[in-house]
Symmetry: C2
């Protein structure tokens, strides 16, 4: 896969060896996340809002109610930043100073475009559903024309993009390695608990296979 060209704005300057610009790293971080954080500025005030997203090729899709202020403002072409972060572990060093976190993050800069073509819009909605749970789209009632109208979809090209990744154990000062302090990593992971059926179920079938075997 190809690489992203770091720009003055996306090049990782603090701890540059953590910077990654290859598509494989970027896609794998995006495709396993449930939410992104969308940053935009109104009247000089930045806002950061968590929301769902989907990806198809080099395009990130955001969506929400047509009544959403955020989407309306972004659809006017405001500069936007979309950030996705996974926290993979707590890195416990022998000094407070060298404590750290293992993480993987992606930062996307750009301007979003309102998706108006009904076919692209419907495809984006399929992508959102499949992003959260592969196999779900064909199982559920798909959007009506009215629901499509009530939904705003934005497309943000994956163009000005960088990833940042920290892995591995603590790095202590040489003089601290002899200290009698436990050091290492406490790995963190997102886990799935048992599905909770809707108490209002009437004709629901048993838990489908794509849900029983769900992993992230």
């Amino acid at each position: 896969m190809s690489d992203y060209q770091p720009t003055e704005r996306t090049q990782v300057k603090r701890l540059p060896k953590r910077g990654k610009y290859d598509q494989e790293t970027v896609f794998s971080i995006l495709d396993t996340a449930f939410v992104c954080h969308v940053g935009f500025t109104v009247d000089g005030q930045p806002y950061v809002i968590p929301t769902n997203f989907g990806r198809s090729g080099d395009m990130l899709y955001l969506h929400g109610s047509a009544a959403s202020r955020m989407l309306r403002q972004l659809s006017e072409g405001l500069p936007v930043c979309v950030t996705v972060t996974h926290v993979d572990g707590l890195v416990l060093a022998r000094s407070a100073f060298h404590h750290s976190v293992n993480y993987r993050s992606v930062v996307i800069l750009g301007r979003a475009r309102l998706v108006e073509d009904p076919a692209e819009k419907m495809e984006a909605l399929r992508i959102f559903t499949e992003h959260v749970m592969k196999g779900r789209w064909n199982d559920v009632r798909q959007p009506t024309e009215q629901e499509l109208k009530a939904t705003t979809v934005l497309a943000l090209p994956l163009d000005e993009v960088s990833a940042k990744v920290r892995t591995g154990g603590p790095i202590d000062d040489e003089g601290d390695y002899n200290l009698p302090v436990w050091a290492g990593v406490l790995p963190l992971t997102t886990s799935v608990k048992s599905p909770e059926p809707d108490p209002q179920r009437r004709n629901d079938p048993p838990v489908p296979e794509y849900l029983r075997n769900y992993t992230r």
Copy 2:
């Protein structure tokens, strides 16, 4: 505990019944999170950067290297937005349209202040460490004067704050309840795996109790 007064900028307008303005909700969302997403604007471009944080009373602390561009810019009093999000479950409805996510988020708006007093700075570093792992601070080598100088700490008052919370099962259109589609919630949680000791250990004691019994 007291409540936050919603402002024009923090009042939850989309789905207002999800808006929460009480300190107890806000503190519990903040205190169980590992990272926040910090939004700030430079030359008209918003940036959203994940980072650690700590809280003491009505003050949120951010920190990082004195070489960090973000912290330098924020210390000049730029408007900032700090957002913390937990994803608690995937809400699977019978229609694609009514799929949702259970989540808890906090949005803080304001301007940060550079912490210059060495005692407040040291206390903030203690708060960061204890935020990640209660009991850790007294176990590790604490910061030297030089390390303190190499660290920038910012304080952001919890003043203009709101939380947004979705819980519960799917809400389907009345006509969809009879569809033969499994509906319900797939709960998600952050779990801790076994601690991985530093391969470079020399005098490390066994895994300490605060780490063995770690929960979030």
